[in-house]
Amino acid sequence: MTRPARNDPHPADPTDPGPASATHSADPADPDPASAAGSTGTADADEPPAGGSFAGYFLRKLGGAATSMILVIVLGFFAFRMLPGDPVLKIAKERPMSPAQIAELRSQYGLDKPVIVQFWDYLVGIVTGDLGESYVYRKTVSSLIVEYLGPTLLLTGTAALIAIAMGLWLGQLSAWRRNSLFDKLASSTSLIFWSVPTFWLGLILLMIFGGTLQWLPTGGMITPGLDPWSAAGIIDVIKHLILPVVSLVVVVYAQFLMIMRASLIEEMSEDYLTTARAKGLTEDEVRRRHAVPNALLPTVTVVFLHIGGLIAGAVTVEAVFSWPGLGKLTFEAIRGPDLPLLQGTFVVFSAIIIVMNLAADLVYRFLDPRVRRA
């Protein structure tokens, strides 16, 4: 109610359907076609109408995100301490250890204290940024995460931008020329890309461009000895970035394409498009100025949700290309097994995803005048 002004994100759109309810799949039984690509989304029609002011909406979403974060933190604790299989014994099994070493490890992890005390220590640790010490690296988990966070953000951020731009662009073209050769090609390639594991695609790219053709480096982020801020260093980083980004993009853009395509097809039977055509707009203008902006709305949330998947994909891709990021750190932690490190990367990854998701909810609120005004 506090934002009655319709500062429409697409001002060239006088025929915006307004509170038409048909934008989202009107039939709740319809698992939106994008679900064929394993999509998940919160933008379904049965979502309770967003009521109240923006502050109320914001607080509710913030509360939701906070609950998720608490769940992650609790899960991060209990998964590593309460599940069958003593973590220390597990480590002891994979590397020879004397009973004294086991006892020392136990006290190092604080496992000799009562569970409640351990939980409290863990909570205090999380709040103060102390996530324990890595068993393999012999460094604090927090310092490792800080060190490896940048490369992961560079990799997933680049991949997300390209995948979103490509997926949305191709998706709307493909929907607009539904059943054309272009649409069939786009849809079937995305189905194929969706059916392969991300890491395998990475291996194939590595094999062709890194191994056989030797056009691009096979791993790492920068050639050792180069200054990353010099011109040569930046070009070198970009060269290292190409293959991992392409592997991430190819798998994810396909999902974005399917979502955008389904969303625009939903929009295409709307009356306001007929109105727009009757006004004498060309097909291109109808698509660009009317159909696409409306189809974008439900897509945005779903796209943001998939960024979580992108981050998960980064784990394997970073492992394949030895990209020095959180994914590789997770991979090393699994190999260790380095449970404090794994717990740390789990909590941090989850936190990133929850924040992204909160951002999606807020962006959605700004983009969609109906949600905004409701």
Binding site: D27, P28, A29, D30, P31, P33, S35, A36, G38, T40, T42, D44, A45, D46, G64, T67, S68, L71, L75, A79, F80, L83, P84, G85, P87, K90, L191, I192, W194, S195, V196, P197, F199, W200, L203, I204, L206, M207, G210, G211, T212, A262, L305, G308, G309, I311, A312, V315, T316, A319, V320, F331, I334, L342, F346, F349, S350, I353, I354, N357
Partner: protein, 320 residues
């Protein structure tokens, strides 16, 4: 939108109507005929979908070779100690159809045995995730108030967090093994099913026959299991087929990360081994290519069949 539900409605609930049971043989016969006709119509629809038919054939092929693996290629062919004379990293040839790995094992034998674990894990994890998803979705759609809201929050949580992250955590804490992988995938991938089931439950809940049942004194259990469950089942089944593909990819990813059962062949394990010897940069292309193509084929096949089933169940999708 009244009691005389249109013909495309799921064949489940209205048939269970006691009125029809009461009308003795005629009613029952009618129902049987209608079901038979529906089945015929659906089969015709499925048959006309070429990709889905191809998918079904591919699935049949892989299931048969997985079941017959011990007959086609005795387990001894995987025993490293018996492959001492076999050539290592032999590229595909007439003698070694898919090439050999670094220990002299035939890749086609490993793919064959790997099919067992990969498909089994895919299907078992899907079944588990479907059961959890259906229960949670039904509960979230049926119960309102605090309980329903609580379940919704749990579903939201699992939708937001990528299941792979949770699965990594679970499978690295639990004992390594095929069963662990099934649990890790099943426990973490049910949220999208729950969401779909919830939507369907909400739409069915508003139908008059549910209200009628409630007025007649039906309890939660009766409504949930006699009315809602049959109404969401078709959707769940179509979704199952689509989910298996995702579960197979998840299995291969976990195995690739080294969380699988190393004593058993699976397509992910083969890919992990290939990376351990840097097959991709050493020119052993067959070692990288074949397991991935097997995954691609099976996942694609499941997706094709799933989409066809979904289109049959949900006519609204057909026009697309």
């Amino acid at each position: 939108m009244s009691a005389n539900t249109p013909a495309e409605a799921a064949p489940g609930p209205p048939d269970r109507d006691p009125r029809e049971r009461g009308a003795a043989i005629d009613g029952a016969k009618l129902v049987r005929e209608r079901r038979l006709n529906n089945a015929k119509k659906n089969w015709a629809l499925f048959r006309s979908d070429v990709p889905a038919l191809l998918g079904a054939l591919v699935l049949l092929f892989f299931v048969v070779i997985a079941l017959a693996a011990p007959l086609i290629a005795p387990a001894a062919m995987l025993d490293v100690t018996k492959q001492l004379d076999a050539p290592r990293y032999a590229p595909p040839s007439l003698e070694h159809p898919l090439g050999t790995d670094g220990l002299g094992r035939e890749l086609w034998v490993r793919i064959l045995w790997g099919a067992r674990v990969s498909i089994l894990v895919g299907v078992a994890a899907t079944v588990m995730s479907m059961v959890i998803g259906t229960i949670m979705g039904l509960a979230a759609g049926h119960f309102s108030g605090l309980f329903g809201g609580l379940i919704m929050r749990v579903i939201d949580f699992f939708i937001v967090l990528p299941s792979l992250l949770l699965a990594i955590v679970l499978s690295s804490v639990l004992e390594r093994g095929v069963f662990t992988i099934v649990i890790a995938i099943g426990l973490t991938s049910w949220a999208s099913t729950a969401r779909i089931v919830r939507s369907q439950t909400l739409s069915v809940e508003s139908r008059l026959y549910i209200e009628r049942a409630r007025i007649l004194g039906a309890g939660h259990r009766h409504i949930l299991f006699r009315h809602l469950l049959p109404a969401v089942m078709p959707l769940v089944l179509a979704n199952t087929t689509l989910t298996v593909g995702g579960a197979i990819i998840a299995e291969s990813t976990l195995s690739f990360l080294g969380l699988g059962d190393t004593s058993k062949e699976s397509w992910g394990t083969i890919l992990k081994n290939s990376m351990d010897v840097s097959a991709a940069t050493s020119g052993y292309w067959w070692y990288v290519l074949t397991p991935g193509i097997a995954i691609l084929l099976v996942v694609l096949a499941f997706t094709m069949v799933g989409r066809a089933l979904e289109a049959i169940i949900n006519p609204a999708l057909r026009s697309r």
